[in-house]
Assembly symmetry: C2
Amino acid sequence: METRREQIYNTAGTLFSRRGYAATSVRDIAGELDLQGGSLYAHIKSKEDVLWAIISRAAEQFLAAARPLAASDAAATVRLRGMIHAHIAVVTGRIEQATVFLQDWRYLSSPRREQIGALRDEYEGLYRTTIAAGVARGEFAPTDPKLAATMVLSAINGVHAWYRPAGPLSPDEIAERFADMLLNGLKVEGRRSKVEDPTSGRGGADGD
Amino acid sequence: METRREQIYNTAGTLFSRRGYAATSVRDIAGELDLQGGSLYAHIKSKEDVLWAIISRAAEQFLAAARPLAASDAAATVRLRGMIHAHIAVVTGRIEQATVFLQDWRYLSSPRREQIGALRDEYEGLYRTTIAAGVARGEFAPTDPKLAATMVLSAINGVHAWYRPAGPLSPDEIAERFADMLLNGLKVEGRRSKVEDPTSGRGGADGD
DNA sequence: CCTACCGATCGGTAGG
DNA sequence: CCTACCGATCGGTAGG
């Protein structure tokens, strides 16, 4: 039993994720539901309220999934792996809402945009803190936690752009491979000290 | 000596990168140049032509920077590092155009959108091929080159969203750290042989 | 490059 | 939830 308003949110999520908020009209949304444009306003207050409903819920889902993992007393490696799995689960589980959250939050007007910005900062902080703890414990190599958190989040946010439920990898399989690559790196030798690469004839130790 | 048309492209790049293509009007662009809206059409044919000029140039810059690096006979590790540096140099050197390229290409209409899609595929292919070569040579751990290329590109594309020229890190410093993290991973131990990883409950994992 | 304008569409409302 | 409408704005053009 889905209320009309929830139907509007879902339809808008689909259209916003495809065309973007600015390029989607209220008549587009109404048309998908076989309504006249003005009829939407019996259920919603404004187009931006619909965007807000989608984005604020998505933000809370990301945070609700990550907070307990970040706060657990497991090893940082385990926590970070769990957070990557949780993030990709949210992205793939509600891909349209997640896409709108990631791509259209700048269209919120002023008090709301800053609210979402604060939630994004909090979320990134969970990653930063977890990585910093891993560095402090010697689990992670010395690295800038802020830069590392930004990179990890960029990598896993990208999933929304290409994931298809019919694809060959499940969300957990994607998360496992992403976590492997992010934690262990691509290179066989891994990191320990910055020794030179023996397969390189051109002096790889000298960063460019 | 910048032609009026180039001024229009630059101004549009700034506005499109900030507000998005769909939410930027031709009158917004004209206003920044102290022109009337209709006056733009003495220099351009359509709003979409402006978008196309920005995006097609950006796509060519990314490709022109990466092609010779991908084709070199250096070690895959060296090639991939070089490609990451080149990519971040393009993103940071023309950040507005790069942002428009990354965020607004879906607003191109049909023949052009597919053209850009093909260039994006070619570009991703350079990363995929380089990573696959690294795996074949034993430089990289066994991994799905397609997934790895997608992840690396997502990570380095994210730079456009937060890079500021006044920030503490130069583009090359950012690239060096990103390459370190992507190639060597976050963990101190690094990867050696996947089958012996005690933190993974799922063995196997080759074969796709 | 401006003035003046075109038809179309926008988000939203009144009154039923 | 519909009909009918509001003022504003959209991309673009004619004619100078």
